[in-house]
Symmetry: C2
Subunit: 147 residues, 2 copies
DNA sequence: TATTGTTATACTCTATAACTATA
DNA sequence: TATAGTTATAGAGTATAACAATA
């Protein structure tokens, strides 16, 4: 099965990665969308605040490799829907500290738990070692760039 | 590194798959887009015709697990831009045989070669065995559904 | 001038329903 | 009724440029 020329699409890594990403994202996405009405970037913003605590939009950008326009829109939507609050810093009024509300924390904890359940399901199906190897491979394929 | 609760986003498989898919698709996508002005589904249609020969839209749908609306639009765009021709079958006028033009074949061969080069680059970087295992894992994650 | 964040815009991708034509 | 394919539409994701406010 080693890759030789010509390439067969069903063995082409980018193709398989796309399908697998779609497939594995779908279940979790359905969950956070139907239960909380969240979009992908919104869930990621909640994740960052829930895991690492209050921070600025630019910190989420750098930690999550997300472009500032994505984070800006997500934060704005999350604030409107009371998942987080923004507090302007007096020391530098360009900065706003983002903070999960009670509802935001609830959503985070619920989603954390759902992600855990999903991860265990994957581990049961594919094996811990296999998934660890998968993580290593995927991480080394990811060149961070902030989009 | 075995997955335990709580889940850390940077270790969450769907997240990693998304990033890796984006990352590995990007280079190849840039190629077929800038060189031939193709979109993803258009390239996949060309791939099917180039690899397996003339067929109907519905065959591409089933072989490539693509929804008929996606294929319909891709075929229409490819015909307009002279990458393929359509010939209605007299035996059943709902059917149109899709056939790559000379230009379509050229694009296919060029893209095949580019995909081969890219695959070998991946293999050099990550190893044939690792990539074979990756393929097996990804394939078993993919439940075909035709979207 | 550089940084933080917002707004506007356009393109790509996905998903579904409603439709035509043919069988 | 079922199948092949088209069209319309909306939502989601991505990318970039231009902008305002602040430092």
């Amino acid at each position: 099965m080693t890759q030789k020329t010509p390439v067969d699409l069903p063995d082409f890594i980018p193709y398989l990665l796309n399908l697998a990403a779609e497939e594995t994202s779908l279940e979790f996405k359905e969950y956070y969308k139907s239960k909380f009405g969240l979009l992908r970037t919104e869930w990621r913003v909640i994740f960052h605040l829930g895991t690492y605590g209050d921070m600025l939009a630019k910190d989420i950008c750098s930690r999550g490799n997300l472009h500032k326009t994505k984070v800006s829109r997500a934060v704005s939507a999350l604030e409107k829907r009371r998942f987080l609050t923004r507090t302007q810093l007096l020391s530098d009024r360009r900065h706003e500290v983002l903070h999960l509300t009670r509802q935001g924390v609830c959503a985070f904890e619920d989603l954390q738990s759902a992600a855990g359940i999903y991860s265990r399901k994957l581990a049961d199906k594919f094996g811990d070692e296999e998934l660890d190897m998968l993580r290593v491979l995927l991480k080394s394929m990811i060149r961070m760039k902030g989009g």
